[in-house]
Amino acid sequence: MTQPMVSPKPWWPMEVGFFLIPVAAFFLFPLHLPLITEMMILALFAVSLDLVLGYAGIVSLGHAAFFGLGAYAAGILAQQGWGEPLSGLVFAGAVAGVVGLLTGVLVLRGSDLTRLMVTLGIGMMLFEAANKMNWLTGGADGLQGVMVEPLLGAFQFDIFGHTAFWYAYAGLVVLFYVARRLVHSPFGLCLRGIKTNRLRMSALGSRVNLHLLAVYTVGAMMAGIAGGLLAQTTQFVSLDVLSFERSAEVLLVLVLGGPGRLYGGIIGAVAFTVMHEVLSGFTTHYWQFWLGLVLVLLVLFARGGLLGLVDALRKRAARGTASAAAPERAA
C-alpha cells in the first residue's frame, strides 16, 4: 500500500458552514442566547461521549460524573476567589481527566454489563458524595456564590449572555477541532479497529487497553470542560449535573444525532433542545413520555440516529442516479 492510511483530512466547506450557523443564530435569535449557549455546551458534552462510545465502543451510563466534576471544580474554584475563567476551565478539565484516568483502569475490565455497572456505580458514588459534602458543594441547595471574573480581563459576563455565548462557542469549536484531529489520526483509526474487532487489533500488536484508557481520559477531560463551561456561564452548580438522568440524557442526545461521527453529538443536541422546548411547551409535566417514545421509536426504526437517516436517504438517492463511488461521510 503506497498511499498512507491516514491523510490529514481537509475541512469541507460544508463543515465550515456548519460552524457558522451558531454565528447566524446569534444575530437571528438574540433573545434565546442562554438557550443556545446551553445547547452548545450539551453538544460539547455529547461529542466527548462520542469519543468514548461512538469511536471506542465503551457504553457508559455514568458520563455525567465527569461533566459534574468539571462543573463543581470550576464552580468551587470561582467561589473560593479564583474567578479567572480560562484557568478555571483548564482546572475543570484536569480534575475530570485525572478522575477519568483513575476510574478508566476499572472500566476497562469485564463485559458490557460490568462496564455499565461500574460507570453507573462511579457516577452514583460521586452524586452521593456531592450530596453529603454540604460544606464543599452546598449539597442539594446547589453551589452558591460563584463569581466569575471578566473573560481575558476585558469581557464581563453580561446579563444578556453575549460573552457567555461567544465563550461557549469558542470552547465548542476548539475542542471539536481537537476531537476531529484525534479521530482522523492513526490513534483514531486504532480505536475504530478495536471497536470492530478487539481480538484482531491486539493480534496486530495494538495496545488495546492503553488506547481505550487514553480515549476514556480524553473524553472525561472534554466532558469536564463542558461542565466547567456550564458552571461559569450560569454562575451556579446544582446537584443534578451528576445525576443519572444527565448521563441518560447525553446518551439520548448522541443516539438521536448518530454516534460515531462527531457531528451526531451536535445535531443531537440541537434536536434534543428544540424537542425539549416544543414538547414541554404543551405538556410541561409529561414531556418525559414523549422523550421515551422518541427513544423507543429511534431504536426500533432509525438505529443510526438522524445522521444515519440522512446517510440512508443519500444512499438511496445515489443508487437512483447510479453514481458508482460511495460518497464519503463528512465527519
Binding site: R109, L116, M125, E128, K132, W287, G292, L293
Partner: protein, 283 residues
C-alpha cells in the same frame, strides 16, 4: 442489632423477588433490560388501585399484581423486546431507558406524583418482641413468603424439565436450539414469570420501599447490582447478592447515616473490580 438483621433480610428477600426475573432473562438472552423496575411498578400500582379504590383484600391483590405484570411483560416481550435480541447493547440500553421514561410519565399522569400509601390488613400490622428487638409481622410475612418462593424457584430450576431446558438454554442457546428446545418460547415464558415476580415484589414493596413514579429508576440500580454481583447463571447467586445488599444497605443507613447509599455503590464497584463476572459466578 436483631432488628437491623431482620429488616435487612426482609429487604434483601424482597429485592431478590424483584430482581431474580431480571437475572434469568439477562443470562438467557444476554439482553440488558433496564425497564425491569417498570414491571414492578405495574404490580405496585395494581395493588394500590385494587386495595384502596376497589376494596379487594390485600392477599387477593398479590396474585393479581403477579398476573397483570406478567401479562404486561409477555405482551411487550412478544411485540417489542423480541426485535432487539440481536441488537447491540447500546440499542438495548436506549430502548429500555425509553420504556422507563414512558412508564414513569404514564404513572405520573394517571396516579399523580405523590407517594402512594396502603393500609395493611389487621393481622399483618403490629410487632412482636424478641429479646429487646421489635420485629414487625409484615417483615416476617415477607421473609416467609419470599423464602418459600425462592425455594420453589430453585426447585423449578433444578428439578423440573422446564428448568433443565432453561439451564441448557442459558448455558448455550445455539446448542439448546439444535437439540430441539424452543428457546424463543422458553424465553417468553421466563420473561412473563420474571415480570410477574417483579410485579409481586412491587406489590409487597409498596409498604416497605414506597411507591411513586420514580420507583422504576430508583430501584433499577439495586436490581442491576443484584444481577451484576450475583451473576446470571444460577438463582443462588442473585439470592445471596440480594441478602448481602439488603443487610448492607439497612445496616449502612442505620449505623453510618452520614454517608447514605455511598457504601452500597462502593461495595458493588469493588466486587466488580475483583470479580468482573460477579461474586458467585462459576467462571
Amino acid at each position: 442489632m436483631l432488628t437491623v438483621l431482620v429488616d435487612g433480610v426482609a429487604y434483601g428477600m424482597l429485592l431478590f423477588i424483584l430482581a431474580c426475573g431480571l437475572s434469568v432473562t439477562m443470562g438467557l438472552m444476554n439482553f440488558i433490560n433496564l425497564a425491569h423496575g417498570a414491571f414492578a411498578m405495574v404490580g405496585g400500582y395494581v395493588t394500590v388501585i385494587m386495595l384502596n379504590d376497589m376494596g379487594v383484600p390485600f392477599l387477593a391483590c398479590l396474585p393479581a399484581a403477579f398476573v397483570l405484570a406478567a401479562l404486561a411483560g409477555v405482551v411487550l416481550e412478544r411485540t417489542l423486546y423480541v426485535r432487539l435480541y440481536k441488537a447491540s447493547h447500546l440499542d438495548q440500553v436506549m430502548f429500555t431507558i425509553g420504556l422507563v421514561f414512558i412508564a414513569m410519565a404514564t404513572a405520573d399522569y394517571f396516579m399523580g406524583a405523590q407517594q402512594k400509601l396502603i393500609q395493611l390488613p389487621e393481622f399483618l400490622r403490629g410487632r412482636v418482641g424478641i429479646g429487646d428487638a421489635q420485629i414487625s409481622y409484615y417483615r416476617l410475612f415477607i421473609v416467609l413468603l419470599c423464602g418459600l418462593l425462592a425455594v420453589g424457584l430453585q426447585f423449578a430450576l433444578t428439578r423440573t424439565r422446564f428448568g433443565a431446558q432453561l439451564r441448557a438454554a442459558v448455558d448455550d442457546g445455539r446448542v439448546a436450539r439444535g437439540l430441539g428446545i424452543d428457546v424463543s418460547r422458553l424465553f417468553a415464558v421466563t420473561f412473563a414469570v420474571g415480570s410477574g415476580l417483579a410485579g409481586l415484589g412491587g406489590a409487597l414493596g409498596v409498604e416497605l420501599l414506597g411507591l411513586d413514579p420514580t420507583f422504576a429508576v430508583r430501584f433499577m440500580i439495586y436490581f442491576l447490582i443484584v444481577v451484576a454481583v450475583g451473576g446470571t447463571d444460577s438463582i443462588v447467586g442473585p439470592f445471596l447478592a440480594s441478602l448481602l445488599l439488603g443487610i448492607g444497605d439497612v445496616a449502612g443507613k442505620y449505623y453510618v447515616p452520614g454517608i447514605g447509599s455511598f457504601i452500597i455503590y462502593a461495595i458493588m464497584v469493588g466486587v466488580l473490580i475483583v470479580r468482573p463476572q460477579g461474586l458467585f459466578a462459576r467462571r
